[in-house]
Amino acid sequence: MGQGLQNRIVILLPYLWLLILFLAPFGIVLKISFSDTAIAIPPYTPLWDWSDIRGFFAELDFENYTWLLEDDLYWKSYLSSLRIAAISTLITLLIGYPMAYAMAKAPKNIRPTLLMLIILPFWTSFLIRVYAWIGILKNEGYINIALEWLGIIDEPIMMLNTDFAVFVGIVYSYLPFMILPLYATLEKMDGSLIEAAKDLGCTEVSAFWKVTLPLSMPGIIAGCFLVFIPAIGEFVIPDLLGGSDTIMIGKVLWSEFFRNRDWPVASAVAVLLLLILIVPIVLFQHFQQRAEQN
């Protein structure tokens, strides 16, 4: 029947597109991560033919992975990515929560405007927003000029090309991702719950700790994952704002690929990065599903 054909096209077209341009490429990454480096174009020697599955298992080449394990640069960059992402997420939460809370408490008629002001920077170029901080943080930047003019410092403080700058960049870029889910949970919270808590003897502050905060947990969890997950694989921020000793895995992958032209090692780095990401992504899904069920 014509109906069935239409439905099949609606499913198959995007399905095939994603199979070819999203899933298949990962197969290739996996394949190349088991290949040898070569000085050629493309700069790797294929280990096996697609047809020869047995040959693949016989000669599986873990060289790139043992290399990753032995060279502590990679270990350190994975750990440092997790550390930087975790610290930035915490700072984003500490800045984002009061803002989301204040927005949820704001008069109803100005809430849409506040929400748009949060989302607006997200629509402007990410690269430009990161770039804007270079002018602020560098030695001859606005902050140092202002501090020197006020007579607080004599020597400029080194801020650009440090981990601090990376934290600032991540917090700045991902703040909307934290505020939006927080605002969503705080806004729909029943105001009479706080009144009930006060009626039962809570002060303003203890009502916040005992009622508001626990009830906004789903928003906190969602916001933290939305910041933490993309921050791990971030490249632009550590590259433009971080120093030579700020190593993050996205940056390592980029330089393996573009500077060292070592495609197999870059692929192996990508595979391991994916494996690391699976844990928070699965956890996130788990929390989301639980939140939906409640």
Binding site: I11, L19, I28, V29, P42, A106, L120, I128, A266
Partner: protein, 263 residues
């Protein structure tokens, strides 16, 4: 209406200052006479003029806009189809994999998406350039489109489609005469989102481009690596003004439409 407490006002003021001062400084100093970006040397629009004469930037801008328009349009069609498949067609074989592939690109680090697409293009022996970047952008944009459109479809009353069928439409006619006109605002905002994502992308474009196809973010990135320059400030201000103005305009229009519909 309750008033905001001083604590809440402080939180909002500091928060929005943090969000907007960097952009504001960027725009102000794009009108700086001095070559030193951070020292004010008087008002001037000379950096905008020099930008307009920079062939490399103009070329990159043209390439970027073409890629954005083509990829956003195709991504909107594919993403809307994917959303219809996920929300309307119920269970079909491979649905779990399908929805997984829709959501995965949203959390995938760009370096991985870019690397894997490049390796695919190399393996298939495709000449890299305009079309490879466009294909890459369609792939991740369609996932965003699908998420935006399916959330609209979830709140869409299915009986509207059934009513159209009951009155003599087949499913395709029902989609174009009833469903699409009603979800159009969501489809348009998904398209705008795709355009923005494409205009903004540095990492994936860097992996999938070839000689002769340089996008604006790539051009900005390579000059930013050499340090701040007033010309980049001018370019950034133009982009911020363009996108910010567009978003504000769109939200004013949609708000006016809503208030018109409520009368």
């Amino acid at each position: 209406m309750q008033k905001l407490s001083p604590f809440n006002i402080t939180a909002l003021t500091l928060g929005f200052a943090f969000l907007y001062i960097p952009i504001l400084l960027l725009v102000i100093f794009s009108f700086n006479e001095s070559k030193l970006v951070t020292v004010w040397g008087g008002f001037s629009t000379k950096w905008y003029a020099s930008l307009m004469q920079d062939k490399a930037f103009l070329n990159a801008a043209w390439t970027t806009f073409r890629i954005a328009l083509v990829s956003a349009t195709i991504a909107t069609v594919l993403g809307t189809m994917a959303a219809m498949a996920l929300v309307r067609l119920g269970k079909f074989r491979g649905r779990t994999l399908f929805s997984g592939m829709i959501y995965a690109p949203l959390v995938m680090p760009e370096v991985i998406t870019g690397l894997s697409l490049l390796l695919l293009f190399v393996a298939m022996n495709v000449t890299r350039g305009f079309w490879t970047i466009t294909l890459a952008h369609i792939t991740f944009s369609m996932c965003y489109v699908s998420v935006v459109v399916s959330s609209r479809l979830h709140s869409f009353d299915v009986s509207l489609e059934e009513a159209a069928i009951d009155l003599g439409c087949n499913t395709i006619q029902a989609f174009f005469k009833v469903t699409l006109p009603i979800i159009l605002p969501a489809v348009i905002s998904a398209w705008l989102l795709s355009v923005t994502l494409s205009l903004d992308d540095l990492v994936i474009a860097s992996f999938t481009s070839g000689p002769g196809a340089t996008t604006l973010p790539m051009e900005i990135y390579s000059s930013v690596r050499l340090g701040v320059s007033p010309q980049i400030n001018a370019l950034s201000s133009l982009l911020v003004g363009l996108v910010g103005g567009g978003v504000i305009l769109a939200s004013i229009i949609s708000r006016r439409q809503i208030s018109k519909e409520q009368h």
